[in-house]
């Protein structure tokens, strides 16, 4: 049940006065034209204007603001840089948006213990920049890393292209200072993993702002490997590239990352970013990053190249110098942006499949695209089976979005059918909540709701996200196990 009150009953004046006492009048945005920026996050097809935006600077300010929301039954939503792709920071009616852009301090760098403490508004890339002089880096690297915030990464449990070997955000978070929806400040985890008691740090990471807001984050950093090499291999078919991925893994090699781009994506990137290093006539390319000691990299690089050739790779380019490596990665990291340039709109999915189902699923996605009359480009984390089908469309055409969402839904169902997941790193948010019941039973969802009940009993923190309700999803909120005879995961 949503306790946030209806618009008609809401008199914002006293609430604004209380919030202004906390963050100052400069810390409040309420002018209509300024609020437009906050209508949506990276998922631009849904919009809702917040009534207020506040810009706190400290944990205490966040706690005081959240307490005011709690006392007045006002829904609130935390927002970082607004790059999320699942509508996790999408406002709801009559809400306050708590934006972390002024909480942008790196509070502590402890190279000897390989830990960094940051505020949530710190940009992902800044962490690596702050420690690279000492020979360290922060591993999770979403494609939006030059703009996305650590707080948002915590909320979504973000991944990136280097997660195959080193894991996603949750594997690099030691502790959190949280403001929970009652306005209390709670410390979970700490400087060391596995403090006594339940792992609330692990529970919170990926909870998409529904359990509260992280205001201080202790991250683990890693030593930059002695040697790094990126290998670009191009193939005549997506299947061949997929077999090469399987070959690499079964040879016992775990690269830092393995990424795949299909022909359409390659050409989109070359049109827009002009890296001049991706062959336009290839059906697919693989980017494989290998790291370790000099000898390890040398040996594994030769093995990976050999496996790619055995699977029909035409050309193999190898980059070892930082500049060359970045050049090879540049196009991959800019792939989504490139789609935005060549198509009026695009809709990206984030399904995960067992790696061994890659060829089958890609063929099925192509068929679905044909059925719906939309082009689907594929750029994805091949090493861990995390697909990013990009559906290109024109939102100005009436009914286009509905059709695209239906196609996206079919793709997600396909991922679930082969034993996968509806999201690998973007989160469920507002976008995919109605597909949760494809993966989970009512009992599963009820158990998740227990967790929310403890942290967020009035559902004021990011209401309506993640778990489907009849209000947000109608009948599909209830259905589950649509594929009889197949165990659903």
């Amino acid at each position: 049940m949503l306790l946030a009150e209806k618009a008609t009953a809401r008199d914002w004046k006293p609430i604004i006065a209380q919030l202004a006492a906390v963050v100052g009048s400069k810390g409040i945005i309420q002018r209509r034209e300024e609020l437009i920026t906050y209508e949506c996050d990276g998922l631009t097809s849904y919009r809702e204007r917040p009534d207020l935006v506040i810009l706190p600077k400290t944990t205490e300010q966040v706690a005081a603001a959240v307490k005011i929301c709690d006392e007045n039954n006002v829904a609130w939503i935390a927002r970082g840089a607004g790059t999320g792709l699942s509508g996790g920071a999408l406002p709801v009616e009559n809400c306050v948006l708590i934006v972390t852009s002024l909480m942008n301090q790196i509070l502590k760098v402890d190279l000897e213990n390989q830990a960094v403490v940051v505020q949530p508004g710190v940009v992902n890339n800044w962490v690596t920049q702050a420690v690279s002089g000492g020979g360290f880096y922060y591993a999770p690297d979403p494609s939006s890393q030059i703009i996305c915030s650590i707080g948002g990464n915590i909320a979504e449990n973000s991944g990136g292209v280097h997660c195959l070997k080193y894991g996603v955000t949750t594997n690099h978070v030691l502790g959190l200072k949280l403001v929970i929806p009652s306005g209390e400040i709670i410390d979970v985890g700490g400087e060391i993993a596995e403090m006594p008691g339940y792992d609330l740090t692990g529970l919170f990471v990926g909870s998409e702002g529904t359990l509260g807001m992280a205001t201080e984050i202790t991250l683990k950093i890693l030593k930059t490997p002695e040697s790094i090499c990126v290998l670009l291999a191009d193939f005549d078919s997506v299947e061949a590239a997929g077999s090469a991925v399987s070959g690499i893994i079964s040879a016992g090699i775990i690269p830092a990352g393995i990424e795949m781009m299909d022909k359409f994506s390659i050409n989109a990137v070359e049109d827009v970013v002009k890296t001049n290093c991706y062959p336009r006539d290839a059906a697919a390319i693989l980017l494989v990053e290998i790291d370790g000691s000099g000898l390890e990299v040398e040996t594994n690089q030769a093995k990976v190249a050999e496996i790619c050739r055995q699977n029909g790779a035409r050309d193999i380019t190898i980059a070892t110098e930082p500049e060359q490596r970045l050049r090879l990665w540049k196009g991959r990291k800019a792939a989504f942006a490139a789609m935005g340039k060549i198509s009026p709109d695009y809709y990206v999915q984030d399904g995960v499949i067992p790696r061994t189902q890659l060829s089958y699923v890609l063929q099925e996605i192509e068929k679905l695209g044909e059925k719906y009359g939309h082009f689907v480009a594929n750029v994805f984390h091949a090493g861990d089976g995390n697909l990013h089908p990009l559906i290109l469309y024109d939102n100005s055409k009436v009914g286009a979005l509905e059709k695209v969402e239906a196609l996206g839904g079919e793709i997600l169902k396909l991922c679930v059918k082969v034993g996968g997941s509806i999201s690998g790193e973007h989160g469920i948010g507002a976008d995919k909540r109605c597909y949760m019941s494809e993966m989970f039973t009512e009992t599963d969802l009820e158990t998740m709701q227990w967790v929310r009940q403890v942290f967020n009993p009035k559902e004021l923190a990011n209401p309506g996200k993640i778990i489907p309700t009849p209000r947000t999803c109608g009948e599909s909120a209830k259905s589950a196990h649509k594929f009889s005879g197949i165990e659903q995961y």
């Binding site: 060391i192 692990g202 909870s207 030593k223 079964s250 000691s293 000898l295 995960v352 997941s421 989970f440």
Partner: protein, 396 residues
């Protein structure tokens, strides 16, 4: 079967499948009869004393392999499968579950997850939490629920895998789990540095700041080094598992670092190396009346071992995994618990007295909780198990 947790003999039920387990839990919940939750009972005495237990319920017969997806590097098993059995299955495909729990021969996978039990391999592969991809469990009300999935990357829904790891059977009874597995390293070699504490402290610091790629780095107390026939001093034990040329090169680099600091160095391989690591894995728990899990900042690891040596006159076995700062001590009695705990807490960590005689557990706080999140944790327990039938008192 004796209930070593409470020193009272209790009946044990051994359901043959998930459905039967769920029925038994439903009955216990309805009749408000607290259960001690067990796998194969290897760590039944770990943690707090369970209050008012009427019976033990064991998952040991839920021991089927559900799926080993070799190409996807994942395995799904029932929670009662023994760790040793799973490793055998995985080894046939050249893979392994990179955990080194205290009781490798008797532990079940469910028990390992419930206690977050792993050791030296944390350095490269992380803790149990980092390997658990999906769970199914029987809730306190007897209903069966699941979370996560069978793929290596998945953010759909709350991460209950993290919540259940280390929750000591207090939130639900695991019935089926999916884990990430890894290729078995084909080669390995271990470097041992021994000598004065000052030299070891510097070696540890240089090693952590280096680009060397060991899979395990442990600091061992004097008594543990003696027990493992390494030396009569504390030691730093470092395992490399990569291509042979790199093992040789990295070992040489580390030996040179040790030499420069006045430490003695040696390399162990083959059978001897395997026995050493098996000794580190199994040599602490159950070897003395009091067994502790602890954590300190990695920069405090060597000093903590020195304190253990000093306060026990070099008689207590102890290990700290350097990069995580997590370790284990075997103590003859509880006389040093408070001072060691204060030290660990000052070093940013904790000390939990997991194993101890019942009378000691009655007197000294077992867990050593820190911070202000305990009320929230208790609310979670209350929400998941309102009647309090699942290991009440075990933790929280």
């Amino acid at each position: 079967m004796g209930d070593s947790t409470n020193d009272i003999p209790l009946p044990i039920s051994v359901p043959i499948d998930t459905r039967e387990l769920a029925e038994l839990v439903t009955i216990a919940n309805r009749s408000k009869s607290p259960l001690i939750v067990a796998g194969n009972s290897s760590k039944l005495d770990w943690g707090g004393m369970v209050r008012d237990a009427r019976s033990i319920i064991s998952t040991q017969k839920l021991d089927r392999l559900i799926a080993h997806a070799v190409g996807d590097l994942t395995v799904t098993v029932e929670a009662g499968m023994k760790f040793a059995k799973l490793q055998e299955i995985l080894a046939t495909a050249g893979q392994f579950l990179p955990l080194d729990p205290a009781y490798p021969n008797t532990s079940t996978i469910g028990g390992i997850i419930a206690t977050a039990a792993t050791g030296s391999l944390r350095h490269r592969y992380g803790g149990v939490r980092d390997l658990l991809l999906g769970i199914s469990f029987v809730r306190a009300d007897g209903k069966i629920a699941k979370a996560g999935g069978r793929v290596v990357k998945n953010v759909a829904g709350y991460d209950m895998m993290k919540l259940f790891t280390g929750s000591y059977g207090t939130l639900g009874i695991l019935t089926e789990v999916t884990l990430r597995v890894y290729p078995l390293p084909a080669n390995s070699g271990t470097v041992i540095l021994t000598g004065a504490i000052e030299g070891l402290r510097n070696a540890a610091k240089i090693l952590l700041a280096s680009t060397l790629t060991p899979i395990a780095v442990d600091v061992l107390s004097t008594a543990f080094s003696q027990h493992l026939e390494i030396s009569n001093t504390p030691s730093l034990v470092v395992k490399f598992a990569t291509i042979p040329a790199s093992i040789a090169e990295q070992s040489e680099q580390l030996l040179a670092i040790g030499k420069g600091l006045g430490l003695k160095g040696g390399t162990w391989q083959g059978e001897q190396e395997q026995q050493l690591w098996s000794g580190i894995q199994t040599g602490i728990w159950g070897s003395t009346p009091v067994g502790c899990k602890l954590g300190v900042r990695s920069t405090a690891a060597v000093d903590t071992i020195e304190l253990l040596d000093r306060s026990t006159a070099n008689t207590a076995k102890g290990v700290i995994h350097l990069s995580s700062g997590i370790g284990a001590f075997a103590l003859p009695d509880a006389s040093q618990i408070q001072s060691l705990r204060s030290h660990c807490e000052a070093a940013g960590g904790f000390l939990s007295m997991l194993q101890a005689p019942v009378d000691i557990k009655g007197k000294i706080d077992v867990w050593g909780y820190r911070g202000n999140a305990v009320p929230l944790m208790r609310e979670i327990k209350q929400q998941f198990d309102p009647v309090g039938i699942l290991n009440p008192g075990k933790c929280l």
